[in-house]
């Protein structure tokens, strides 16, 4: 498997219940709105943040943060 050029993040808003873990682990890209739900400043993850993004995805208790490679395949 080749190394993906870029990865993108997406929130499943139905699954998200606002734990806020993602904003703790990836404050560079994710902020919480006034009700505690994540707002992504950009869906494209810069290369240096890719590992942090993966960690945030794994930490989401609701499995609501999704990461996809450039081809759009979710992992």
């Amino acid at each position: 498997m080749g190394f993906p050029l870029s990865v993108t993040l997406r929130v499943n808003p139905i699954a998200c219940v606002g734990h806020g873990m993602c904003a703790e682990l990836l404050p560079e890209l994710i902020q919480l709105d006034r009700w505690g739900y994540p707002i992504l400043s950009s869906s494209t993850v810069p290369r240096p943040l890719a590992d942090h993004a993966r960690r945030a995805v794994q930490a989401c208790p609701a499995l609501a943060l999704l990461i996809a490679d450039a081809a759009g395949k979710h992992r």
């Binding site: 499943n12 808003p13 139905i14 699954a15 998200c16 219940v17 606002g18 709105d33 006034r34 009700w35 505690g36 739900y37 707002i39």
Partner: protein
């Protein structure tokens, strides 16, 4: 361009003039015999793929609001793996729309023809006709029409008449698919979309009932006939519902591209001086009267004018009414109708309704308009479906079309218009369903 060769002798192709769908409509449901006298028998398709070609050539687009090319949707479902499912969406969620109800209650057979023809064209083995389960009379009437056709041996794929929850968001196509799969009837996270994986995992063709009715006539008279009215880029006719301060509110069949103003005149003209028009329903937009008047009723033209065609709804707002109070009431309704799934919608819509209600009924406070505007980016495009986006588009258009009213409310407080009986139609509380199944 192609025309469809049909096996049974077809009736003389009617002239391009209107009405087409509503030709000969009466007060009672049309029988199968009447329908076949009016339009001739349902054509027999020699080759399934041919109908898709003809529908594509006709330029028919979805009449449920999104306006997606019908033929392209059919082609992508037909190309999917295995057996397919056809769903006719007659669950008219928009409170200001009456056209689907009219079609289903008076002219059911033209819709049922469309379902059967679409099912054959895409290779479907199941077909569902969905209306709100709260519409008992409509369900009974449709069941009778289906039985009438069964006795005549018309529909090789049996049509199942299905009542879905009477909730605003349940008529969204992913909600219908979820309900038919045994769920509560709420929008789902996509992809997959219904045409990829829908009912029982099969590729599913979801069409509005009016779209299917047009399809039934295109199968009879061909794509050239369909293009005989409307504009080259938006061909055919469409059903519209006009309400509010007009002399003769009701459902009308118009050429695509008819100017908004001519439609208002068709409905008897303004019953009193107007301040604005809500075009496209509660997923549409407010437009000032002068701005809206010349705009052709097509997706492209209305979008360019800052509006939306939606399901063909026009509501005339009298100058004596308060546009802010009217919108606040509708946003409250949309907030109550959310599916309870996505945070930004669950929390955002009630907050928006509060802020708008505050501006409408209290006002007289600096920052009241900003408070409304600040909520919009917190709501937009943050739900799984377009429900929250409909509400924000409506509010954005309010602030754009009625800036002077908004400023006046903010500076000096509420206006006399709020005392007027509301103009925008909403279902009565006793007719609403308050939960999902």
């Amino acid at each position: 361009m192609t025309t469809l060769a049909l096996s049974p002798p077809r009736p003389p192709s009617p002239a391009a003039r209107l009405p087409r769908l509503l030709a000969g409509i009466g007060d009672q449901p049309a029988s199968l015999r009447w329908h076949e006298r009016q339009h001739g028998p349902m054509p027999v398709l020699r080759r399934a793929g041919r109908l898709i070609d003809v529908v594509e050539a006709s330029g028919l687009t979805g009449r449920g609001g999104a306006g997606f090319p019908t033929g392209r949707k059919m082609r992508s479902v037909a190309a999917g793996p295995g057996s397919k499912v056809v769903v006719a969406n007659g669950a008219e969620g928009e409170p200001a729309s009456l056209k689907d109800r009219l079609l289903l209650s008076r002219l059911p057979h033209v819709v049922l023809d469309g379902m059967t023809l679409a099912a054959e064209a895409v290779g479907a083995t199941e077909a569902y006709l969905c209306v709100h389960g709260t519409q008992h009379g409509l369900l009974d009437g449709l069941e009778r029409a289906v039985q009438e056709r069964l006795a005549a041996g018309l529909d090789p794929v049996p049509i199942k008449v299905t009542g879905i929850p009477g909730r605003y968001v349940s008529s969204e196509q992913s909600s219908i698919v979820q309900f038919l799969n045994g769920g509560p009837g709420k929008p789902t996270f996509s992809p997959p979309r219904p045409h990829e994986r829908g009912v029982n995992g099969h590729p599913t063709l979801v069409h509005n009932v009016e779209t299917l009715a047009h399809l039934a006539l295109i199968a009879r008279y061909g794509d050239r006939w369909f293009r005989g009215t409307g504009t080259p880029s938006a061909p055919g006719s469409m059903l519209v519902t006009v309400s509010g301060a007009v002399a003769r509110p009701g459902v009308y069949e118009i050429e695509m591209g008819t100017p908004v103003g001519r439609l208002v005149m068709l409905a008897g003209g303004p019953a009193e001086p107007l301040s604005g028009l809500l075009v496209g329903g509660y997923f549409g937009a407010w437009l000032p009267v002068e701005a809206a008047w010349p705009v052709p009723m097509t997706h492209t033209s209305l979008k360019a004018a800052g509006g939306a065609l939606g399901a063909g709804i026009v509501i005339a707002l009298p100058a004596s009414a308060c546009p802010i109070a009217e919108t606040a009431r509708v946003v409250r309704y949309l907030a109550e109708e959310n599916a309870g799934q996505c945070g930004p919608c669950v929390f955002g819509l009630p907050a928006l309704a509060d802020a708008l209600g505050d501006l409408a009924y209290c006002g007289g406070r600096n920052g009241a308009v900003d408070q409304v505007a600040a909520l919009l980016p917190l709501i937009e495009r943050r739900g799984a479906c377009r429900h929250p986006d409909g509400a924000t588009q409506l509010v954005r258009s309010l602030l754009r079309a009625f800036p002077a009213d908004a400023r006046r409310h903010e500076r000096t407080g509420s206006c006399g218009g709020v005392a007027r009986p509301p103009v925008l139609p909403l279902p009565r509380d006793e007719d609403r369903e308050w939960d999902f199944r």
